[in-house]
Symmetry: C2
Subunit: 197 residues, 2 copies
């Protein structure tokens, strides 16, 4: 929809409030203006860029520390963490992550982001991946930003912690994985959605 | 079994002939001697070390070229290839591959070795991973050598090529993965074991 500046800025503010992870590219498409126009709108309204928004949305409740590995061993930049519950990380895909021939991100980098997030979310000194069922839904190209969201969904029958990780580029779901994590204090485990409610 | 040198060397030669991927460590354990003794035995009998044996076993039939990616983008050292049939690679686990805290290899490196082998075995200019079901069976430590074997097992109902990858340290099965690979010439596909026999 094409709108006047004032109207557009009002709608823009609403859009960013309701979906804080939306990118400038996405907003430009939605409002049928250039990305530069969106940036100027944001600056006029003092709305920070996506990365800063993600951090501010995330970190107000991020007062926990990664336990299972040093934070610099997490692949991507972690922006949110609630141990044994959820975590979010960002990975900017660059030349080093893609096949030279077609600039498509190599699967093991998306896997590494998701898998290290699944390790990081575990509230234990030791967390190892026992099994994973993963899907690559659409190709990710050099220059794209992948946001991975990990959610602890429960325990499997063997007492392992199950972590689901979904990764997005803009609104596109690009990767999903279900990780069964071994931990040293398996008997403690986590609550499932069922017994938590 | 403890044996005299001459007898041991005869048995050693037979053992290596029947299982060429056996390591010096494994042989030392089997013959109840030191690894150094096995190395000296091998030198006396002019039997090359494992890496060279794998290459010589493998390359006599390796007259094909990787198609889906440049060979230097394969993670690990590829030592055998028969397109749309099977491939083998070796990855030596070093400091860069392990968690700093416990020296256990990080899952994404074993995944990267297996996944890039699954890509490399495809006889197509374009091969991308659509889905994978993977298991980590035992921890791999820094200093261990992982041998991954990929086998093309058929097509799934969507016409994707299915590649099974099993990775070993000595005789231990450390990783297994079933990869569903998308390729540009899906209609060509591959024969299954059933219609090949």
């Amino acid at each position: 929809m094409k709108t006047h500046k004032k109207e557009r800025q009002t709608l823009l503010r609403e859009a960013i409030q309701s979906t804080p992870f939306v990118t400038d590219e996405e907003l430009a498409k939605r409002f049928e203006v250039s990305i530069q126009t969106i940036r100027l709108d944001r600056m006029e309204m003092s709305i920070p860029e996506l990365r800063e928004r993600i951090k501010s949305v995330a970190t107000y409740q991020w007062n926990e520390t990664v336990k299972a590995l040093p934070i610099d061993e997490v692949i991507g930049e972690m922006v949110d963490l609630e141990l044994d519950n959820r975590a979010i990380s960002i990975l900017d895909i660059s030349k080093e992550h893609v096949f030279s021939r077609n600039q498509i991100a190599r699967g093991h980098h998306l896997f590494a982001q998701a898998n290290s997030l699944a390790v990081a979310v575990i509230n234990d000194e030791l967390a190892l991946t026992a099994r994973a069922d993963i899907k690559f839904m659409r190709q990710v190209k050099s220059g794209e930003r992948v946001i991975a969201k990990a959610t602890v969904t429960g325990k499997d029958p063997k007492g392992r912690t199950v972590v689901e990780v979904d990764s997005y580029v803009d609104q596109d779901h690009v990767f999903s994985g279900v990780f069964e994590m071994y931990r040293s204090n398996e008997h403690k485990g986590v609550e499932t959605d069922e017994n938590r409610s």
